[in-house]
């Protein structure tokens, strides 16, 4: 880890990165983009298909009005201009999981253009400009059988599932993002996080990266810090988590720097990111890229959303994440950097839900950003993927506040919750973690500790109350940490200073 970090630190002293992100979002419409088939995930292969999405001879597409509306709402939320007239286009290339061997997409007339979204990182605002937002159809999914790796190499045959073919897909493309320096990987991650939150707030997609409903391609290039000209970019695909977005940019920066340091040139190519190794491997070279022969889709009429409709959609957008963050920040009384740390950790919803479940904001923040973040990192999970609910965290915080467990015991209780042993209450009961605050039961331990250390007891009696710490420690040891240290201290002082 330290070797990688130092390599990265070395890279950014000499090179400036430019990044760009292309994000594909599967819309959560009930039916597909151009037919009535279901879009639900996980169906038996080829059960959600019809002549249209199978590309049978003669079948024709009809555009899904709900998908168009969702795309316009996305465009509005990203501060884009909405085209008053635009067309679908055919992107022609042969691929077995694409039923018609062309994809209905948009080319030079996207539905939404020229927007922006602000992301905040450690109190600094980075404005990410949006080039375009357009609507297209997803492809089917190939399954390569017979090889060891599930990849096409070594496979004996391939199966295609067309359930996904024709699901509405929105592509959101940023303009190149320069000037973020060492923070480029984090900016990339923060952007995708923000985008995900916006999409979730709009309710247009379930935005689950692991199921592929949110997919990210990351463009990266490096130039020397004093150069005005941007370097050759690569496009890293298969980036399937927020963490991977950050890792993919970082590893690509390190890789490109090594190429440039060796006096070679970066090849414009597609690279595939590998979740396990955190490295990417070269794919198709863009220099031999296919000519997609775009032309306006003759089977569909142009889209011409009415200005009044667009305004109506604008007027009914929900509270967007940035607005919500400002509201929560004020109500939780946090500084900008505190709020940014919390948002970038993906903890906003979790903390809000924890507060809603009764915990003070400060406690909720402390738990999610502290212990839980550390455990999520160790497990390689997103915070939200940890097997603990905000309500359980609130319960845990309540136990501490009530003095029923101390911080150390609370962490043990949390371990139990994460291990699936039940709610914090249940774990505390089952593991017997509750602090011993029953003064009768503690009294014996206290008396024994005083009897065992008469010299210290004498000091306390003489007014050196700080010396009581040693006696507290002894009682805690004797009770195996299960006593409430505050109560123990009170009992000791009561015995040695009152009479």
């Amino acid at each position: 880890m330290s070797a990688v970090l130092s390599a990265y630190d070395d890279v950014i002293t000499r090179y400036a990165p430019v990044i760009g992100l292309e994000t594909h979002v599967e819309l959560g419409t009930v039916s597909k983009m151009f037919c009535g088939c279901s879009t639900s995930f996980g169906g038996e292969p080829n059960t959600q298909v019809c002549p249209v999405c199978l590309g049978l001879p003669g079948a024709l597409p009809v555009a899904n009005a709900g998908a168009i509306e969702a795309t316009i709402r996305i465009g509005l939320a990203l501060n884009c201009s909405i085209a008053s007239w635009c067309r679908f286009a055919r992107k022609n290339y042969f691929y077995p999981d694409m039923p018609k061997n062309f994809q209905i997409s948009q080319y030079d007339e996207p539905l939404c253009t020229d927007g922006w979204v602000d992301v905040r990182l450690a109190g600094v605002v980075h404005r990410i400009e949006i080039e375009r937002v357009h609507l297209e159809e997803d492809t089917g999914k190939s399954l390569h059988v017979g090889g060891a790796t599930g990849r096409i190499h070594g496979a004996t045959h391939s199966l295609v599932d067309f359930n996904r073919a024709g699901i509405p897909l929105v592509e959101i493309v940023t303009k190149p993002v320069a000037g973020t320096g060492a923070q480029a990987p984090e900016v990339a991650r923060a952007y995708v996080t923000e985008l995900r939150d916006i999409l979730r707030t709009l309710g247009v997609s379930d935005v689950r990266m692991e199921q592929g409903s949110l997919r990210c391609d990351v463009n990266t290039s490096l130039s020397t810090v004093d150069s005005e000209v941007w370097g050759t970019r690569t496009e890293t695909k298969n980036v399937n988590s927020l963490r991977s977005v950050e890792r993919a940019v970082r590893s690509e920066m390190i890789r490109q720097a090594a190429v440039l340091d060796a006096g070679e040139r970066v090849i414009q190519e597609t690279r595939h990111f590998h979740e396990n190794s955190g490295e990417s491997t070269a794919g198709r070279s863009k220099e031999e890229a296919t000519d997609y022969r775009y032309f306006p889709e003759p089977d569909l009429v142009p889209l011409a959303p009415a200005a009044e409709w667009i305004e109506q959609l604008r007027g009914t957008l929900p509270e967007l994440p940035s607005t919500r963050r400002q509201r929560l920040q004020a109500s939780w009384n946090l500084s900008d950097p505190e709020m940014d740390a919390l948002a970038n950790a993906g903890a906003l919803d979790l903390i809000e839900a924890t507060v809603a479940a009764g915990a003070p904001a400060e406690d909720a923040r402390k738990w999610w950003l502290g212990d839980l973040s550390r455990r999520a990192n160790e497990a390689g999970l997103e915070l939200g993927e940890l097997p603990v609910t905000p309500a359980q965290v609130a319960q845990l915080a309540g136990l501490v506040t009530a003095g029923r467990v101390n911080d150390k015991l609370a962490r043990q209780a949390l371990s139990g919750v994460l291990a699936g042993e039940g709610s914090p209450e249940e774990v505390v009961a089952a593991r017997g973690l509750e602090v011993v605050s029953d003064t009768g039961a503690l009294g014996t331990a206290v008396d024994e500790a005083i009897a065992a250390a008469p010299d210290i007891a004498a000091k306390v009696r003489g007014g050196k109350t700080a010396a009581a710490g040693a006696l507290v420690g002894a009682v805690m040891t004797a009770t195996r940490g299960q006593a409430d240290a505050r109560v123990v201290r009170e009992l000791i002082l009561a015995r040695l200073t009152q009479n």
Binding site: L56, P57, G58, V62, Y294, V301
Partner: protein
């Protein structure tokens, strides 16, 4: 040939509805006729004997229960193979779709069947509707009943051959650049290309999406109108389908049959004559124009200066769209698969299949279209062609400012001999010179027989503004009546018996 096979569709429907003849008898008479002559004509690729009789029986049963039947119930029809039919082969004249049985019906098929029309089978055509003679069919050409050594036109030549050979009173064709009107003209039939969007394209195996239109072929104008009303009208499954009522074409056909065109303003398109037009064709066209004057119409000359660019524009747009539309034939999901030996990779199987499955003309157009859409060439070819299209529409708009309809010969020549143009694509393409402008403009046009040249039929084309299909039918019906009055019989009566 019996009386039942020579009757027109409207008359047959009346006889069936009145119970004077059963739909089954009518179907059997036509199936017998097919059995007797189709080895000479080769109009059909697939005959659905059982399906036809079942459909006819259903009509007879409905009639027996006292149900009111539609205006074409029980009438047999020949369906072009480009139209998808559930459970019946639909090859579009290509090897690459040999053996494919569609799991769904085209909207046209659905509407035909729902009207109680009896589909006899699927008719031959140039592969994927690319051609003017049926000689590009992967299954051998059809023959013109007027002269078996001549072409029946194309691409809907199977349907035109079937209807002119009395194998069926009705045929469905599709027209991309003239593929209904030209076969109608050279076989002595009526053929109408509706306004683009007037008939659903859902289930037509696409050749050129922005041009394809299905329409009727028949021996009378009224029959064509009756079939048009059955298949026309809005279809939510086709986004380019027009959401408007079907023009009142049947009423227009009946009105036109009174042979009175008083006050109608007709424009003769100057550009659709001259070099390359047979003198016999031009003479019959002049006769027809004179006839129109006698019917009370006023005739003016109209110039459409951009019609001359229709052919090059068409041969960029149609191949471009077809290069994309035909990409789906890749051996992965249906149709022909060649070379899948477990050793060859996917790309090679795709290539071998397309190499074996497509004929020469289809390949020519795919290559042409692929080139025209290539980055760096798009603006010069596809883009320019679209601009020409706009200019042609403007020519029409200007013409329709002063005229109600425009007229021209349907084709520059009568039916040419089989084989005469197979090695000369440009000569073959010239067969569509007169029909291409209305295709590119998306406007309706009809071909109606107007006389004979060298013993072969000549067609008059009547072109109207978009959505004014009724004008085509009105003028065509008037011409039909006037010609029969002049000659003492319909044009088709002059055809030799097979």
């Amino acid at each position: 040939m019996t009386e039942l096979t020579t009757m027109d569709a409207a008359a047959l429907a009346v006889e069936i509805a009145a119970g004077r003849v059963s739909a089954v008898e009518v179907a059997l008479a036509h199936l017998d006729r097919i059995a007797a002559v189709d080895d000479k004509v080769h109009a059909f690729l697939h005959i659905d004997h059982d399906g036809a009789l079942a459909a006819a029986r259903a009509v007879d049963e409905r009639r027996a229960t006292g149900e009111e039947l539609g205006p074409l119930a029980g009438v047999p029809l020949a369906m072009k193979d480009v139209v998808v039919t559930r459970g019946l082969p639909s090859t579009s004249g290509s090897q690459i779709l040999r053996g494919w049985i569609p799991p769904y019906d085209a909207t046209v098929t659905r509407r035909v069947l729902d009207a109680g029309i009896v589909m006899l089978g699927k008719t031959n055509m140039d592969e994927f509707a690319m051609g003017s003679s049926t000689e590009n069919s992967a299954y051998g050409p059809s023959h013109n009943p007027w002269d078996l050594d001549r072409i029946p036109g194309g691409s809907s030549g199977g349907s035109s051959a079937a209807v002119s050979a009395y194998e069926a009173p009705l045929g469905i064709g599709t027209d991309t650049g003239g593929s209904i009107r030209q076969p109608a003209a050279v076989t002595g039939l009526v053929g109408h290309k509706p306004t683009y969007g007037g008939v659903s394209r859902y289930g037509l195996i696409a050749f050129s999406s922005s041009l394809d239109q299905a329409g009727p072929l028949s021996r009378t104008v009224l029959d064509a109108a009756l079939l048009h009303e059955v298949i026309g009208g809005h279809d939510p499954a086709d986004s380019t389908s027009i959401d408007a009522p079907v023009p009142a074409v049947v009423a227009a056909a009946r009105d036109g049959a009174r042979a009175d065109l008083s006050g109608l303003r007709i424009g003769v398109v100057q550009e659709l004559s001259g070099d390359g037009y047979e003198s016999g064709v031009l003479d019959r066209f002049s006769d027809a124009v004179r006839l129109l004057t006698e019917l009370g119409a006023t005739i003016t000359e109209v110039s459409c200066p951009h019609f001359g660019y229709a052919l090059p524009a068409y041969y960029l747009i149609a191949p471009s769209e077809c290069s994309s539309n035909l990409a789906r034939f890749d051996a992965v999901r249906y149709g022909l698969r060649v070379g899948d030996d477990g050793v060859r990779g996917l790309e090679e199987v795709m290539s071998l299949t397309r190499e074996a499955g497509f004929g020469a003309e289809v390949k020519r157009r795919i290559i042409l279209g692929t080139y025209a859409l290539s980055s760096g060439y798009y603006d010069a070819y596809y883009g320019q062609a679209q601009k020409v299209r706009t200019l042609i529409s403007r020519d029409f708009a200007a013409g329709f400012k002063t005229c109600d309809v425009l007229v021209s010969p349907t084709t520059p020549t009568v039916a040419f001999p089989l084989g005469a143009r197979v090695d000369d694509p440009m000569a073959m393409y010239a067969a569509d010179l007169c029909t291409l402008p209305a295709s590119l403009a998306g406007t309706p046009a009809i071909s109606v027989p107007c006389g004979l040249s060298e013993g072969l039929p000549v067609g008059l084309q009547v072109m109207a503004p978009a959505l004014a299909d009724d004008r085509c039918y009105r003028v065509a019906a008037a011409v039909e009546a006037a010609v029969a009055g002049r000659d003492g019989q319909p044009i088709l009566a002059a055809a030799p018996s097979l």
